[in-house]
Symmetry: C2
Subunit: 222 residues, 2 copies
DNA sequence: TACTATCGACGTACGCTGTACGATTGTCAA
DNA sequence: TTGACAATCGTACAGCGTACGTCGATAGTA
C-alpha cells in the first residue's frame, strides 16, 4: 500500500528516478544546493531512503555525470569524420551548458561510467575509421575533448548565455570596472564586442572548425 | 604580546597568510577537505578569526583562484607570439596540475580577480601586437584558454601523472575493465599506449602546437 | 596616570550537512 | 502461520559555515 503523498510523482523510488531528480535539482539550484535531504524532499521521501538506491553521495554524483554523458549525441556513423565530430562536439557543448555543474564535477571523479566509455569508444572508432593512426586518434581525442570541456568551463563562468545578454553585461558591468589605462586591450575588445554582438555557440564553432581542419591532413586516408 | 603557540608559524594572521595556507591545504587534502576550522587549525587560530581577513568562504575561494593566476607566467613580451603563447600556456598547465582543485572552482566563480584580468590583458596585448584583429584575438583567446583549461580538467581526472604511472595503471586497471568485444577501439588504444608510454606534458604540447600553427595564417602580419 | 576607543582573536550557538544504526512496515515463499 | 527480505524512515552524531557577543591588549587623549 503506497499511500504517502509525494511531491514529484507517485511512482515508487528507483535509482533512475533518484538520479534524474538529482540532476533536475542541480540544474535549478547548483550542485551546492543539492543535499540528500532536499533531494529526498523533492521525491517525497525520507533522506535515508535514498541510500537504498545509492551507496553514498559520491556514487550519486558519479551516476549523475554518466546520465549527462548519455545525453550527448554519439558521432553519427554514416557521416564523414569532420561532420560526425562537429555533431557530437556541438551536442556536448549544449549538454554541458544545460548542466554546468557537471563540468566542475568531472575534475574530482576519476573512473568513467559506462555511458562515458561508450562515448569514448564511438569517438575513437569514428577517428580510426577515418584513417587516423592509433596515436593520432589519441591526440585528436585529447585535443577535441580538451576544447569542448574547456569551452564549457569558460562559458559556465560567464554570466550570460546569448549575444543580447552579453551586450547588456558588457556595457553595464565589464567596461566600468576596467580602467582604460591599465587594461587598454581588454577595453578595446569589450568595446568592439558590444557593437558586434557575441554568441557563445558561434564562438565555439570557430575553434572547433579550426581544430578539425588542422587535424584533417594528419589522417592517412584509406 | 602574541603568545599562543601556532602550528604553521608565529607571524600574525593576515589575508595573505590565510589564503596561502588555504591553497596548501587544498593541494594536500582537496577542496572538500578545506574547511574553515581545518584552515584555522593549520594557522594555529580559532575558526572565527579567519573572518577578520575574509568576508566568507566564497571570498576565500576567489582569493585562492587569483593567487593561482598569479603563479601563471605572463607571455614574455620580447618573444614572437607563438613562443610567448607556448610559454604561458605550458605554465598554466603546470600550475593547474599543481592545483587541480582550482579547475573545478572556476566554473562557479563568475567575476575574475585582478591577477586574472592582468593575465588576460597581457595575452590580448600579445595577440594584438602580433597582428591579430580584435575579433581574431578574441577567437584565439577563447580557443587557447579552452584548450588549456580543458586539458587540465581531463588531466586532473586521470589517476596518473607520468608515463610510467600510466603504464602501470593501464595494464592493471583499465584493460581488465574494458571487454574487448564491447570496446575494441579503446582496447586497441590502451594496448598500444602501454607499449609506447604516455606523458601528459607531451600530449599537451601536441595540441597546443597544432592550434598555434592553425592560428598563424589568421593574423595580418604588420 | 586614568579613561576610552579600537582591533584582533575567539567561544558559543544555530541550522545545515552526510550518513551509521536500528526499527518498522509490506510482500511473498514455504 | 512463519520467516525472509526489501523498502522506508526516525533518530543521532560529527562536522560544516557563520551570526553574534565578548574579551584582552594596545593606542590615543585628558
Amino acid at each position: 500500500m503506497r499511500e504517502r503523498r509525494q511531491v514529484a510523482s507517485d511512482a515508487g523510488l528507483s535509482k533512475q528516478r533518484v538520479v534524474v531528480e538529482a540532476i533536475r535539482l542541480a540544474d535549478r539550484e547548483g550542485v551546492d544546493g543539492l543535499s540528500m535531504r532536499q533531494l529526498a524532499g523533492a521525491l517525497g521521501a525520507g533522506a535515508m531512503s535514498l541510500y537504498h538506491y545509492v551507496a553514498n553521495k559520491e556514487e550519486l554524483l558519479d551516476a549523475m555525470i554518466d546520465v549527462v554523458f548519455e545525453e550527448i549525441e554519439l558521432p553519427p556513423e554514416e557521416a564523414d569524420w569532420q561532420s560526425a565530430m562537429r555533431r557530437r562536439s556541438a551536442s556536448a557543448r549544449q549538454v554541458l551548458a544545460r548542466h554546468p555543474w557537471a563540468i566542475g564535477l568531472m575534475e574530482s571523479r576519476t573512473s568513467p561510467g559506462p555511458a562515458h566509455l561508450r562515448h569514448r569508444e564511438a569517438v575513437t572508432a569514428c577517428l580510426r575509421r577515418a584513417g587516423f593512426s592509433i596515436v593520432m586518434a589519441t591526440h585528436a581525442n585529447w585535443l577535441l575533448d580538451s576544447y569542448v570541456y574547456g569551452f564549457a568551463l569558460q562559458a559556465a563562468s560567464l554570466p550570460f548565455d546569448t549575444a543580447d545578454e552579453f551586450a547588456d553585461m558588457a556595457e553595464d558591468v565589464f567596461l566600468p570596472q576596467l580602467p582604460p589605462d591599465e587594461f587598454p586591450y581588454l577595453n578595446e575588445s569589450a568595446a568592439a564586442l558590444v557593437g558586434a554582438g557575441y554568441d557563445p555557440a558561434e564562438e565555439f564553432i570557430f575553434g572547433l572548425d579550426l581544430i578539425l581542419a588542422a587535424l584533417e591532413p594528419l589522417r592517412a586516408s584509406a
